[in-house]
């Protein structure tokens, strides 16, 4: 049975490249090294698949030939005044490149999923700049790992294991053993407490959750991890310290830390529910590290303040670099959302929300971003590639996507494809098609092909090329 080694995992922004896949009769039968989500994808991707193109007729989606579906898609896009072309983070850079050409040809708006993900981070990075690095540097050198508004154990399950706290670096050892002994201690204390309660027949009060001092492990010369979030997450369970912030108060805490790092005093007792003593100690831990990293997630970009929260986080790291070495990185979600930003920027100068309606690229998030265009009801057609806005956009915005003619190119059925007028099933990139994608730290890696796609499912890139060709033919014939 053929075994493919060093396969990249087309799921999250960690984009692990050490997966081993065993194939038998053109089906994946075994997956090694992948996380629960990666394994679920490799083993089940074909379960609910639709392999034939569909067109909506009399309210029902009916099977048609690929040529007909491409013809219809091209007609929808060529006839639209202001179409939106959305998605791109779950496909290859090669497909995105063709998508941009198509957007320019039809004079539409092209946007990728970072618009509802790390779009505010990009706005802020453009304002302030970013001191960042590759994940390899962190694996070997980082001794303080800070996750803010991010829950990697649920969203990027191998991130901690491969790149940060639990990775065995050249200069920093894994904190796994320390975590295990802490866990054993906690479980033993709980068992003891239960036994004491049982013997004395009384309910012992549980220890207070937040203490006024940080654990001593944070001041030791070893790898340590702090999680800041509005609720306790799986990642917070394994951290040396969990900093619980009140919802929508991240900005205040970040700015308070900036003041403390500059040795200024706070004339309040607490900030966003956190005693100032705790913040002072955290500032000490940050200043005292050899190399710190602040990973931030959608907890910052989606809550009140949005890009201003990221301004504060980037500025905090900039300030910290006056005292020690500190870096910052957004926890990118989809495996090629970074690649979508990169390709958009090569081609147009802008990373997302690019409007071609004036024949040249314009970029003004808030105006040219897809959620805003949909909320204002301005677009008159849509093309969605490898994304599911009907499931993930606020309903009020998705209503206007569904109201107009909608073309979906996606390897699997989704709520968006259920609502579409034309559905073109494609091959799974990274499983059935090769390509290129960018990891969250902007390192490009190859997507591998391990099985053959069904004959009716072409790569996204090929489908888009055919639509582009047809759009050009239609436009020539109109002129």
């Amino acid at each position: 049975m053929p075994v493919f080694y060093n396969v990249t995992c087309p799921v999250c922004g960690s984009f692990c490249d050490d997966i081993e896949i065993t194939v038998k009769n053109n089906a994946i039968i075994k997956v090694k090294n992948a996380c629960a989500i990666g394994e679920a994808k490799f083993l089940n991707y074909a379960l609910h698949r639709q392999t034939k193109p569909l067109i909506r007729k009399n309210g029902e989606l009916v099977e048609v030939s690929l040529e007909k579906a491409i013809q219809k898609s091209a007609e929808i896009l060529a006839n639209a005044q202001y179409p939106i072309l959305y998605g791109w983070s779950n496909t290859s850079c090669e497909a995105t490149r063709v998508g941009l050409e198509l957007a320019e040809e039809v004079g539409g708006v092209i946007d990728n999923t970072s618009t509802v993900c790390h779009g505010p981070s990009i706005l802020s990075i453009q304002d302030i700049g970013i001191s960042s690095c590759t994940l390899g540097q962190l694996r070997h050198r980082a001794d303080l790992i800070f996750y803010w508004g991010s829950n990697p154990w649920s969203t990027h399950p191998r991130h901690i294991d491969r790149y940060t706290t639990f990775s065995e670096g050249r200069f920093q050892k894994s904190a796994w053993k320390g975590y295990l002994s802490r866990l054993t201690g906690t479980l033993a204390r709980k068992r003891l407490g239960r036994a004491v309660n049982l013997i004395l027949r009384r309910q012992m009060p549980s220890p207070p959750e937040a203490e006024l001092r940080l654990p001593s492990t944070l001041f030791q010369n070893r790898r340590k991890m702090i999680v800041a979030d509005v609720r306790k997450t799986r990642s917070a369970d394994i951290a040396d310290y969990f900093l619980q912030v009140k919802p929508n108060k991240d900005y205040e805490v970040l700015q308070a830390l900036r003041l403390l790092i500059r040795d200024e005093e706070l004339d309040v007792d607490e900030v966003a529910g956190i005693p100032v003593e705790i913040l002072e100690e955290i500032a000490d831990v940050m200043i005292g590290c050899k190399l710190g990293i602040l990973f931030f997630g959608l907890g910052l970009t989606m809550s009140q303040g949005k890009h201003r929260n990221i301004d504060a986080a980037l500025s905090l790291v900039r300030d910290l670099n006056q005292r020690t070495k500190f870096l910052i990185m957004p926890m990118r979600g989809h495996f090629n959302v970074t690649g979508a930003n990169v390709v958009f920027t090569w081609q147009t100068g802008y990373p997302y929300a690019v409007d071609f309606s004036h024949s040249y690229p314009r970029y003004n998030p808030g105006e040219t971003s897809v959620t805003d265009i949909l909320s204002r009801g301005e677009s008159d057609a849509g093309l969605v590639v490898a994304s599911d806005p009907v499931a993930h956009f606020p309903n009020a915005a998705a209503q206007n996507l569904v109201k107009n003619p909608l073309v979906v190119i996606d390897p699997q059925p989704t709520p968006t494809s259920v609502m579409a007028d034309v559905v073109i099933p494609s091959a799974f990139v990274g499983i059935e098609v090769e390509g290129t994608a960018y990891r969250m730290d902007h390192v490009p890696l190859p997507l591998k092909k391990v099985v053959e796609p069904p004959k009716t499912c072409l790569p996204d890139e090929e489908i888009l090329k055919r639509i582009l060709h047809e759009v050009r033919r239609l436009r020539r014939s109109h002129n």
Partner: protein
């Protein structure tokens, strides 16, 4: 019936992550995203039990889902719903000029819904998007 004012958080979970890879129309996905995680004390206040149906309402919409006990309490007054079609019914589309809708920290009201059922994905889509 008792009602609670809560702060609504949306986000990803490992089950939602696995569910979407089984397929967005799979039962695994639908089960993983049609739940809301609440603090056990808040569940008591609401006079419901785990897996009972509750109705969550925001300024933007209302949806019925199953309530489950949060494994990482306490977080009184904070309710967590995984990303997906159910959370999107409640989401605030305002982007404040950034392109990013407000998906975390919105105010919501939650109440028991003993007579309502959790819709299937197809039913929810039909209800939300009447055109299809």
């Amino acid at each position: 019936m008792p009602k609670l004012k809560v702060s609504l958080l949306t986000g990803r979970t490992i089950d939602q992550g696995k569910g979407k890879e089984y397929g967005k129309l799979s039962e695994e996905y639908q089960k993983s995203v049609s739940i809301c995680e609440m603090d056990p004390e808040d569940i008591k206040l609401l006079k419901v039990r785990e897996n009972d149906n509750v109705k969550v309402t925001t300024e933007f919409g209302s949806v019925t889902m199953k309530v489950v006990k949060s494994k990482r309490a306490p977080h009184r007054g904070v309710v967590f719903i995984p990303y997906g079609p159910w959370a999107s019914v409640l989401a605030n589309p305002k982007t404040h000029g950034t392109g990013m809708p407000s998906l975390k920290g919105e105010t919501a009201e939650i109440e028991p819904a003993p007579t309502e059922r959790v819709l299937s994905l197809q039913e929810l889509l039909r209800k939300s998007f009447r055109r299809r």
